[in-house]
């Protein structure tokens, strides 16, 4: 490393400290705020109050259940399609790539407007929180597709399929014993990212009036500010865990989802 290069790096230290402060201060302040008990007293009262609320756990479990359902539906729809595209119809790849960009073109708030205008029933579907899974699959689609696409490209699925079939494997065996086990890391990465997206999703749940985790945090924010701060930190920890998982399974490859 030359002296000039070292100076170039050294010159960035004050800048990086300022940026670091910008990112650290809100988290620290939120942490302090969540421990504030009025006046100059600090303690864990907000956390104790939060964990005793049954609606919090209900909303947390609801969001988690929706995340699992979204993963399941998304994979059932996407795995066969992307697998077949790689194996037999590579000419469809531009179509798939185009479709995977569409969820960005139609922002969530627009999609919810379109869905409420188009679908008003059946009642057993639109009046339960499970209805949210339908748009959540669309939200997670770009990330699930990209994870599967990268995973299958690395796999050389054509050679693998021919090898399996030459050894006498049928289609079921091929998919469940050969393809899916080889895609495990890609699938886990996509699943964790979906969890991060669904656990924080607010737009659909708020407009369609379902009490998910993010909606509950917003509700608490209107009534008990210190408890909202405690839940904010909890949400940060959930995001951190999910993203660490994504990074570990994705060989350092970073992805972006989220409910902005």
């Amino acid at each position: 490393m030359s002296a000039g290069r070292r100076r170039a790096w050294g010159g960035g230290i004050p800048f990086l400290i300022v940026v670091g402060l910008y990112f650290a201060v809100p988290l620290i302040a939120t942490g302090l705020f969540s421990l504030w008990e009025g006046g100059s007293r600090y303690g864990p009262a907000a956390y104790i109050a939060v964990v005793q609320q049954a609606p919090l756990w209900a909303s947390l479990f609801l969001s988690f259940r929706l995340a699992l359902e979204t993963i399941l539906v998304g994979l059932v729809i996407l795995v066969p399609a992307v697998f077949w595209m790689h194996l037999r119809t590579p000419r469809l790849k531009p179509v798939f790539d185009f479709i995977s960009v569409l969820p960005f073109v139609v922002p969530p708030v627009v999609l919810v407007a379109g869905m409420t205008a188009l679908y008003t029933g059946p009642d057993w579907l639109v009046s339960t929180p499970n209805y949210l899974v339908i748009p959540y699959v669309i939200l997670a689609l770009p990330y699930t597709y990209r994870a599967l696409d990268v995973g299958l490209r690395a796999l050389d699925v054509r050679t693998l399929t021919e090898a399996a079939q030459n050894l006498g494997a049928g289609w079921g065996m091929l998919v469940f014993r050969v393809v899916i086990p080889n895609l495990t890391t890609a699938l886990i990465g996509a699943a964790l990212l979906t969890i991060a997206i669904v656990m924080g999703e607010f737009t659909f749940a708020n407009i369609l009036l379902f009490n998910t985790f993010a909606v509950y945090i917003n509700y608490i924010g209107g009534t008990a500010a210190t408890q909202a701060a405690a839940l904010t930190l909890l949400s940060f920890v959930i995001t951190w865990l999910a993203m660490t998982g994504v990074l570990l399974t994705g060989r350092g490859q970073v992805q972006i989802g989220g409910a902005r």
């Binding site: 070292r6 170039a8 790096w9 960035g12 990086l16 940026v19 910008y22 990112f23 201060v25 809100p26 988290l27 939120t30 302090l32 059932v76 729809i77 996407l78 066969p80 399609a81 037999r88 119809t89 479709i99 569409l102 073109v105 139609v106 922002p107 708030v109 627009v110 999609l111 407007a113 379109g114 869905m115 205008a117 699959v137 049928g170 289609w171 991060a196 997206i197 924080g200 999703e201 607010f202 737009t203 407009i207 993010a214 945090i217 917003n218 924010g221 701060a229 839940l231 904010t232 949400s235 995001t239 999910a242 990074l247 350092g252 970073v254 992805q255 972006i256 989220g258 409910a259 902005r260």
Partner: protein, 309 residues
């Protein structure tokens, strides 16, 4: 191919397969198989993404008593609607600019070849978390920090500095830029890191051997090569901020005029506006996003032309 034919003709007995030649039967089986594997995916996207968007298009042009009308689309030119679009575009443009500059410099300093390895991996992990840590929790983190009763606001007041009296407000457009930067900067880091890695060490060394200073190198070599990547990153950041809903909603309780907020106000019946107005606003939003993504695609193609070694 042979296996496909055998398995799938058996599974899908179409009319009179015996009339087809062996090759024709195989071709038909392949088509049926494609429909079986890819069909559900295409059907899903059509039913729950394309059709809802098209429904908004027809709704925006249909009158309250049926028939075609341009009334609601013309409402997009009303001052308050233009105001919402202007706010949304300003907020997106500024927060994307902050993300571009701060994120770009951070990537340069913290992820460059001379930076410590530990810092690099920490920044990568933190960016992944912060880019996904948005919406309601992010808004509350900033309210607890810089809201009118936030920790920093109160702390500064004890030192005699009243930032709200000085004109700062977290709930104004400039305050929102500060909040949006929290997910824009990490997003920029994630998007630009591969492009920075693509800058070859040899180019820099060649420039230095020819007597170029660091400034010369960046002005004549580094930045021109990075320019398409920077532009596409900016567009991505713009689109990211433009479609944000949860963060501004939780921050301002839906009072600041932004397009996504206006749409949700129409949907929730908070304002006396026809559903068609919401549809017209939505179409306006899709138009902006289509322009954004088209620009992105054009520039991304240029990036690929440059970037491959």
């Amino acid at each position: 191919m042979v296996e496909t034919g055998q398995v799938l003709t058996a599974a899908t007995a179409r009319p009179a397969p015996w009339q087809l030649s062996a090759a024709g039967r195989r071709a038909r089986a392949a088509t049926v198989a494609t429909a079986l594997f890819v069909g559900p995916f295409l059907l899903y996207v059509t039913a729950f993404l394309v059709l809802p968007a098209l429904r908004l298009l027809t709704q925006a042009f249909s009158g309250a008593k049926g028939g075609v009308t341009l009334q609601y689309v013309a409402e997009l030119a009303e001052p308050q609607v233009l105001h919402a679009f202007a706010n949304s575009i300003l907020l997106s443009a500024f927060s994307a600019l902050v993300g571009l500059i701060v994120g770009g410099l951070t990537a340069y300093f913290a992820m460059g070849p001379n930076a410590p390895r530990g810092l690099r991996s920490f920044v990568t992990t933190f960016s992944a978390v912060a880019a996904n840590f948005a919406g309601v929790p992010l808004a509350f983190a900033f309210i607890a920090t810089l809201g009118s009763l936030g920790m920093i606001t109160v702390w500064l007041k004890q030192w005699g500095i009243d930032i709200y009296a000085a004109g700062f407000s977290l709930y104004s457009l400039s305050g929102m830029v500060l909040v949006y930067a929290y997910f824009q900067i990490p997003l920029m880091l994630i998007v630009i890191a591969p492009a920075l890695e693509g800058l070859r060490r040899e180019w820099r060394e060649a420039a230095e051997n020819l007597g170029a200073s660091a400034g010369d190198y960046w002005r004549h070599v580094g930045l021109p090569i990075l320019l398409p990547s920077l532009l596409s990153a900016y567009i991505l950041l713009f689109g990211n901020a433009f479609s944000a809903y949860a963060t501004p909603y939780a921050l301002t309780s839906g009072s600041l005029a932004l397009v996504p907020i206006e749409i949700s106000n129409v949907l929730s019946g908070n304002v006396m506006l026809a559903p068609q107005t919401g549809a017209a606003l939505s179409i306006g939003m899709i138009v902006v996003m289509v322009v954004v993504m088209a620009l992105y695609a054009v520039i991304a193609r240029r990036v690929n032309r440059w970037g491959r070694r």
